[in-house]
Amino acid sequence: MTEAGDTRQPLLAVEHLTMRFDGLLAVDDLSFAAYSREITAIIGPNGAGKTTVFNCLTGFYKPSAGRLAMHVDGKTLLLERIDGFKIARQAGVVRTFQNIRLFAGMTALENLIVAQHNLLMSASLFSIAGFLGLPRYRSAERAAVERARYWLDKVGLTQRADWAAGTLPYGAQRRLEIARALCTEPALLCLDEPAAGLNPSESAELNQLLLAVRADQAIAILLIEHDMSVVMGTSDHVIVLDYGRKIADGTPAEIRADPTVVRAYLGEDEHEVLPTATTARPGIGRA
């Protein structure tokens, strides 16, 4: 296990995270850490609680128990205590969604500019300087367009910058959503199944993009993914969830060889007695 000998300060430390919906225990006493300039993958069968972890991290849910600590600029911020929409701004945690959530009627470029809303809003002095067209706002807007152009270039969408986001091909929409999250200059980027629905060549491109981001930006990436070519090809560290509990944590090579993981994905050996709750499990085929 990587944690044992690790003395580095993690960017994100999740401690004893528990999320309960009435009778359902979606996440059960989960602890893990994510480090800057590393890709941490969270895998597990469908319904294992992966997206719930993301929803807790990004303020869509308030966790029932546990601590979510972000260490940014020498300060420690507790995500569970920050209002949902402030998490992106104060703690630098942004996410993408399993079902793409772009601003479909707006152009690709506008999507990336909206991501820089808070920066531009303060530069426009709550619209007053912007309304008057003062130089301080104009230069901020130019810088925002440049940042958008940089990320459009990285995801290969410069030629389609002025297309409505909803008219882009599926794979391009996935990449644009990642670019939009990166435009906020995050410290932690949470990607929820970025390779879902991509063909093999598109998911190879996604690998390249993730590796390039890890190399160029001082950010940590959390990755939920079922596509093992992406998980094994990019991540430094893999966490396996099953029924809300962490069942394994280690490097991709360690995870691949771990018998508990194989059991969680493929079911128990037929000769052993099965606990009834684990027999029927959707999502086995997808892993």
Partner: protein, 442 residues
Amino acid sequence: MTAASGFAAENPARASADWAVELKDAGLAALAATLLALPLMGLQTYDVGGGALGVRTRFDWVVVAAAAVFAGRLILRICHRLTRRRERRSDGVLASLTASTSRRTSLLAATGIAFAVALPVLPFSSRYLIDLGTTVLIYVMLGWGLNIVVGLAGLLDLGYVAFYAVGAYTFALLARDLGLTFWQALPFSGLVAAGFGVILGFPVLRLRGDYLAIVTLGFGEIIRIVLVNWSPVTGGPNGISDIPRPSFFGLPFARSSPEGATTFAQFFGLEFSPNQRVVFLYFVILALALVTNLFTLRLRKLPIGRAWEALREDEVACRALGINPTNVKLSAFGIGAMLGGFAGCFFATRQGFISPESFTFTESATILAIVVLGGAGSQIGVVLAAILLVTLPELGRAFAEFRMLLFGAAMVAIMAWRPRGLLAYREPSLHLAPRPRWARLR
């Protein structure tokens, strides 16, 4: 041989089969109409005397109804077929189409403004026409105000008339109790209406779609009912009269000057005519509307405007990107309400008399219809829809009781042919690719 005639020559069998399908469809519609019309129109009761009723048949009416439905259905289907064929042809030229749409919109806007400015001096102009133009412009302004809330921010507001009423009553009360003139009261009307917009915004922050619509509908009614019942202040159903008329930089429009002040006609050495005030009011609302338009277009290109549109597209994504949805919604409600308040202030000074009668739900519905018919979010679409919705009932005056029928039919027709509104084209707020010169000038 041209392509079109070649097509017809190659598929004569198919063309006739198409006709058979259309005729059959229209025949079925006519049959349904006949069945419905038989009891509804074919039979009429009349008083035979002594309290008894006789029944009289009117089968000629049924025949007319069936024929009308048959012809109407046939024409509708043929129009559909033609437009579909045209759309199929234009698929390949999507990029140039959007460019030409944008260019056509700029041209339309320029022509529209030139026409509006020149209207009072055009040879066919009349007092009636200028009055009608003033009404159209009030609705254009209201449409533009509501467009911020509904078209840009995507918040369905069915009680917009409340802010129009607040603006009008603010001016009426300030004039009656404090003696403020139109120009002094105008900013207050906008501010008070904006305040009410924010007050409405708070309780509905968590609501979306249908629920939001119902609460805003209720808010509109609350304001109207308060105006009716708070007699000591608002005058109740009698309203407020003798609201001062606007002056031209202090020069009143009157036949004789009160207490020795110079009137507009005297100052410019003109013959007094009541038309002068009508034309002046027309130019005041034209200026207010143009300022409103510039204001909105400018806001659309600022972070706040883009946040409104982002909120319309996806509120969850907005939150995930760190945008405060509360601020975005309240600013949309507040600014939309402010524009409604300005329009209300103008309405009060133009009428000289206001009462709760003028601020019923029908007004809200008309303004919303203008925004939706125009193409939500489109500034020029709102103008076209306002012209249509205000002038159609006027044109229909000759048909007396059929005018609302005509009005309804026109609305159904627009929604059938242009379901996204008259002008649904959205101009992006900024571009990465270099733009042609005519587009940058705007």
